[in-house]
């Protein structure tokens, strides 16, 4: 169930985040860029879950990885406790990593197959120099219990677990250093429906107990709606709309959000809704459309959209949208 | 595949010696060693080349057979082979038209690499069969410590090896549309 969050205390502020990957020709000269993340600005509050939704290739995963500096950002700032962590050197950033953890999508490759799971859970503590060997073992066993596994499974190898169980182990590893923020990159999308609900509930229980914030990246709107306080909608590297969950579902403003929401199949055959089908495919992130990135597929596109980039503007309290229709 | 494993395990000079023992010494069908140029007559020329050629070729054949087999098995487990079966395509057509071309890419790589093995094998085989080729030349210059000749021959072989691999790289584009450059 959803717990209230601290609306006044932004824990992490992302400003104008950009990540371009260079494309080199065979002589090593950069000829163009994959513009994976273009312009991302948001705030994450204490104890909050912020959902980021978008389709494959919209840059949501790259965004998460860039915040953790798994790949260096091209431009932008990330203020954590008021300090720009993108400016930190490796040594200083290591202390930030303790507070910023990540959970990955693929439960099968996110654990080292040659390491006992207890070892995998302890490793973050070892890197951060937390506790003695015995204390770490104690914490790891405790965490195994917390995520619904048994302490005596400590010495087992990943291949002895199912996908859902491995995802729990991944979660335990992220929790081991008691972080403030966990970036969840599609944590349930590789799981079966009945297992998915187990992990979602676990995520919520852990948040209740340990009071972290989640940046919850996913493509499944119904999952995000269930877990997130606020949702940002991403398209081609841009956040096009950001609103509280209820507001977004009641009143989606951006034409892309509207199409996305209407495209989700509803498991109720008596509801016959009209879908907004947007035609065509997502353009290549190497050759971004001019102006508004969505204008090539937008049913409401105007001449202005082709030339002028819309900025995120506040249309209601806690509801911003980047679209010329609402300026 | 026992044949293939045996094939890659037998050193070329040993195979040459054993073939010589069987076909020349015991059966007396072919000359033991030496070389006669084409001017001595085509049949005689070929008679002298037959055993060295088999010796060199057998090992390459085993290598390529091994590679072809594993590559084909990889490709036959691909999804698009299932699509072809679901279309009602005949098994033969699936194997020859859908699978073989895609399986050929790694085989081609091996062929390029084995060209080097082939040249190296030629050095040894020439010594076994007393053929006055570039291999003999290298061996003789090694024993005479004639560094200039060694340098020259080694460079010649390396250049031809690189050239063959260049051709292999170009052939990739013919076989695999994904690496064809600048189609648009």
């Amino acid at each position: 169930m959803l717990q209230p969050y601290e609306k006044e205390k932004p824990l992490l502020q992302i400003k104008g985040l950009q990540k371009y990957f260079p494309i080199n020709n065979s002589f090593g000269k950069t000829v163009s860029h994959v513009k994976a993340v273009n312009n991302v600005t948001f705030e994450l509050y204490e104890k909050e879950t912020l959902g980021i939704v978008g389709e494959s290739g919209c840059g949501k995963s790259t965004m998460g990885r860039t915040i953790l500096r798994l790949t260096e950002p091209t431009a932008g700032e990330a203020l954590y406790k008021g300090q720009n962590i993108f400016k930190f050197d490796d040594k200083k950033f290591l202390s930030v990593r303790k507070d910023l953890q990540m959970v990955f999508q693929d439960p099968h490759s996110s654990l080292n197959p040659k390491k006992r799971i207890g070892f995998s859970i302890e490793e973050p503590m070892k890197i951060q120099n937390i506790g003695t060997k015995n204390e770490r073992t104690e914490i790891a066993m405790d965490l195994l219990n917390k995520v619904g596994l048994r302490a005596d499974q400590y010495y087992r190898y990943p291949h002895e677990f199912s996908g859902g169980q491995r995802q729990r182990i991944g979660l335990a590893r992220a929790m081991a250093v008691n972080p403030k923020i966990i970036i969840c990159d599609e944590p349930v999308s590789a799981l079966d429906v009945s297992i998915q609900s187990q992990v979602i509930n676990l995520l919520q229980e852990l948040q209740e107990e340990f009071k972290q914030s989640y940046l919850f990246i996913a493509h499944d709107l119904s999952v995000v709606r269930h877990i997130a306080h606020r949702i940002g909608v991403m398209y081609l590297g841009n956040i096009v709309e950001l609103a509280t969950t209820d507001e977004l579902f009641k009143n989606p403003l951006h034409p892309y959000s509207q199409a996305l929401l209407s495209a989700v199949p509803i498991p109720n055959p008596t509801v016959k809704k009209t879908r907004i089908i947007i035609n065509g495919d997502v353009p290549s992130p190497t050759n971004l459309p001019s102006g508004c990135v969505f204008h090539t597929r937008c049913p409401h596109a105007m001449d202005r959209c082709k030339v002028e980039v819309p900025q995120l503007t506040k249309v209601a309290p806690g509801h911003t949208v980047a679209c010329h229709l609402y300026e | 595949m026992v044949f293939a494993l045996l094939g890659i395990s037998v050193p070329s000079f040993l195979l040459g010696l054993l073939l010589m023992l069987l076909f020349s010494v015991n059966l007396g069908w072919l000359p033991v060693a030496g070389y006669k140029p084409l001017s001595a007559g085509l049949l005689i020329h070929l008679k002298f080349l037959l055993l060295p050629a088999i010796t060199l070729g057998a090992i390459q054949a085993a290598l390529i057979a091994r590679m072809t087999r594993s590559s084909m098995l990889d490709i036959l487990s691909m999804n698009y082979i299932k699509t072809a079966h679901a279309k009602g395509v005949k098994e033969r057509t699936v194997v020859y038209k859908h699978a073989l071309r895609n399986a050929f890419i790694p085989i081609l790589t091996v062929m390029g690499q084995t060209f080097g093995t082939l040249i190296a094998g030629a050095i040894v085989v020439e010594v076994v069969f007393n053929i006055p080729g570039i291999g003999q030349l290298i061996i003789n210059s090694v024993s005479r410590r004639d560094y200039a000749v060694i340098q020259g021959t080694v460079l010649l072989i390396a250049v031809s090896y690189v050239f063959v691999n260049l051709i292999v790289d170009l052939l990739y584009g013919v076989i695999d549309p994904r690496i064809r450059l600048n189609r648009k």
Binding site: V193, R225, V264, I266, P267, I277 | N79, N102
Partner: protein
């Protein structure tokens, strides 16, 4: 009676021989598909839904697979046909599209070639005519400028486009039955909406029967008329789509429906959870296969296997206690 049903699967059982011994991936599966109808087969991974579809097409490795039961297509048992007769059915009267559009097309052949191949094979058209038809099929599936596309290779087009090409291949010979195995799982929701619409339109146009295999109950609710729910190789419930969602009978179906977060669901409630995990096919539980995870299970469930019972005209269920569950459901 077989004349009324396009496809009738009776007590299908598919057994694989593996290193660790034989496993039965599909056990006693029975259902029918009528012309012009979409039958959904739902279940989680490992429930045997894909094996069922590949058994109908007999696409599984002949040497290690044993089929039992009947697959009657227009009254003819496909399991008894010889290979040549079966090939004439595949891609012609029964077609299939697969989950992963990225790897289901041959990378070294042009799109046109791959569509034309099936047309030449079954309709004995000339090459040129077949390419013309291929172009038409591409247009029908909504691909812009098909005359250019037929000369392109699969790596040059997007995932959504590739799925359209696969649909074009499947529908090129106007099949009577289309089996779609998770056709939209690998696609984004907006592309999924396009593809589902396309399949629905083409079904109307060609009056074909469709088997839609999916794990997504949302997709089921949107496109299917009837639904078969599978668990660990067995059909555990079969019903009309409305009834399945309004009055699910099997505890597994109920659990599944309650465990998915819904767009209009109550967010203050925790999600329902089906405890435990799906057991492996090597260790199928005794009795009812769902019993170890079922909150209603008693001695009977753990010792004896229930059969698929007719509840009413439209609903069948494999559960010892469905009546009790039904009454509880009705009382509250």
């Amino acid at each position: 009676m077989s004349s009324t049903h396009l496809l009738e699967v009776n007590n299908l059982k598919t057994t694989f021989s593996t290193e660790k011994g034989p496993i039965t991936a599909v056990d006693d599966v029975t259902f029918i598909v009528k012309a012009g109808e979409v039958l959904g087969i739902v279940g989680e991974s490992g429930c045997g839904k894909s094996v069922t579809s590949e058994s109908i097409m007999r696409l599984l490795n002949e040497r290690s697979t044993k089929y039992e039961g009947e697959v009657l297509f227009e009254g003819e048992n496909l399991l008894h046909l010889d290979n040549k007769e079966m090939r004439n059915i595949r891609g012609n009267k029964v077609s299939m599209i697969f989950q992963d559009p990225m790897t289901s097309l041959n990378p070294s052949q042009t799109i046109g070639h791959q569509i034309a191949e099936v047309i030449i094979l079954h309709q004995k058209l000339k090459r040129k005519e077949a390419y013309k038809r291929a172009e038409e099929m591409l247009r029908l599936t909504g691909i812009p400028s098909p005359e250019k596309r037929i000369h392109e290779y699969p790596h040059e087009i997007s995932g959504g486009m590739r799925q359209r090409v696969l649909i074009a291949i499947a529908l090129a010979c106007k099949p009577n039955l289309l089996i779609a195995d998770e056709p939209t799982t690998a696609l984004d929701v907006t592309i999924q909406a396009q593809i589902l619409d396309l399949i629905n339109d083409l079904r109307d146009e060609m009056n074909m029967g469709v088997i839609m295999i999916t794990h997504d109950l949302g997709v089921v609710a949107e496109v299917c008329q009837r639904v078969v729910v599978m668990y660990l190789g067995q059909v555990i419930e079969e019903s009309d789509v409305e009834e399945l969602f309004s009055r699910p009978l099997h505890p597994y179906t109920r659990g599944l429906l309650q465990s998915i977060p819904q767009l209009d669901g109550d967010r203050s409630q925790k999600l329902h959870v089906i405890e435990g995990i799906v057991p492996s096919l090597y260790e199928v539980p005794k009795g009812c296969r769902f019993a170890p995870r079922c909150s209603f299970a008693d001695e009977l469930c753990l010792s004896e296997s229930p059969t698929l019972e007719n509840v009413n005209k439209n609903q069948k269920v494999r559960c010892w206690h469905y009546e009790k569950i039904m009454q509880k459901e009705l009382s509250c």
